[in-house]
Symmetry: C2
Subunit: 332 residues, 2 copies
Amino acid sequence: MSASIASNLTLKQILAPVAGDIEQIDDVLRSIGTVDYPLLQQGMEAIIAAGGKRLRPAILFLVAKFNRYDMERLLPMSAAIELLHTATLVHDDTIDRALMRRGLPTLNTFLDEGTTVLAGDYLFAKSAVLSTMGGVQRATRIFAEALVAICEGELEQKFSSKHLHTSRDRYYKRIYSKTAALFAAAAEIGAVLSDAPEDEVQSLRQYGRQIGMAFQVIDDILDMQATSQELGKPSGADLRQGTVTLPTMLYLASASESDHEAVRRLVEDEDRYDELADEIIAKIARSGALDEAHRVARQFADEAKAALVAFPDTPAHKSLLDLADFAVERSF
Amino acid sequence: MSASIASNLTLKQILAPVAGDIEQIDDVLRSIGTVDYPLLQQGMEAIIAAGGKRLRPAILFLVAKFNRYDMERLLPMSAAIELLHTATLVHDDTIDRALMRRGLPTLNTFLDEGTTVLAGDYLFAKSAVLSTMGGVQRATRIFAEALVAICEGELEQKFSSKHLHTSRDRYYKRIYSKTAALFAAAAEIGAVLSDAPEDEVQSLRQYGRQIGMAFQVIDDILDMQATSQELGKPSGADLRQGTVTLPTMLYLASASESDHEAVRRLVEDEDRYDELADEIIAKIARSGALDEAHRVARQFADEAKAALVAFPDTPAHKSLLDLADFAVERSF
């Protein structure tokens, strides 16, 4: 879909320059997760084991390689960012009453709702403590502001779901809050903690922001394609919940009146997993909308790469470029 | 109940040395509460208007009067503490599905549960940003650690409710987390932000901790006495939810076997608002347990005052002493 594909590289290969450092995050998270209550402990360990790609900490580390690389500063903050991400997922799952995430059972399956809310709060709190341990107040503030952006995005999604018409700007604003804000914060914090000059801080933040945008657009495409085996949820889960994302927006732009009406009925109605939904989602998947959305993601990735143009040609630099390609070429 | 009563002083009189500064917190909170969604905005404004006593910020300000009093440092942090307190109340109310607090409707009455969780998260996030605005990393860390303690206390309460036998130590640990941790943090932060010498920081933290303990013991007594007009909930709400507090513990220590059994049935059973509960709560209220609990609160207040013994005799000093008395003499 683009000339600049690095599709033969695995994520593990891309992140090789910081692989050892990323592993240390697990130890920090494991020590943080130690709590007095066996049931909760079990849940926390499951969350940590489930892992995820540790992309945000990876970006923080890679970005810091351009300047002064001090693990004592970087490690607590990268763990803070991963933990904050985890905490937001716990609350998301609570709010959505999701029972599965990444094919594994969520905390909801063995804790009641109130306890899950508290468990998420506890992770937020621990991440906030970690965020103060790098010793740089500006980094802590960037961290806290990313959390504000995430909450604003969640509220926006909550209040704007069940609405068929979403402007492109509004969609971008929403995915910035949902995903790109924390990627941008990870990159900016990596820059600040490595004492990067201010112009580099801004370029690296821009890199983080645009790769985050690319990631979320691809997530929204994958949501349309996913089967329940892959993501632990039916394809088109967002749309079934009344949330219109880019593929649906692009599909609607050239849909017939009756297809338009069908989507409206799905979005404005209650949650449903029925034939109407299956049919619409299959139509979107067959339409050109997914390719078109893919081109948008590629554009964000290219902008991320462009933000790095003035930086020296180092292994970390190459990793960051490859990561931008990976963001759009991945299928999981 | 004690010789050292300042019962003729109103809270307003006690807090006079910092009254103007406390008022400024409302402006900060109001600017923070500005959000795009009318329904949420309405809820936030109601929370801010409902106010509460602003005791934690008051302690932060009063304590800072002993050293360098710099409003630019103190104001964002005092607002952060009040907002954090508010956020914990929002999540408490969500978890308890409470519809009233301080006689006013909670967010639960007009937002669904997921949105209320998000609204609480949003307030947490905003408080975290405010906590970085004083420019002193140590203060931000104390703030974040207080949030961890609060979450641990909530989890402890969640996992230990429905258990009849609570040791005194466990009870103290729980009320420390629930209440005293944030009072202690407010005092310690006030000390740190005013560049107090380290020994003073520790004494002032001790003051905050002990006055917080006194406050919570009194809250637990008031909970036993309250009628629904006063607190917006039936008397003995804690016990009805299966949470054993000091008055019940003291009552049980000299209760007959059959009274003991009655309390066990109430605690271990589901929530109920019935004749058994009414009868037990009336018995506890008539027993000497409330007076005995009052003596415990008085002891904490006296320890708070003792922590201030080496400080100069200033109006702020007098306020802090009077506040300790107020903590135990108040009836609301």
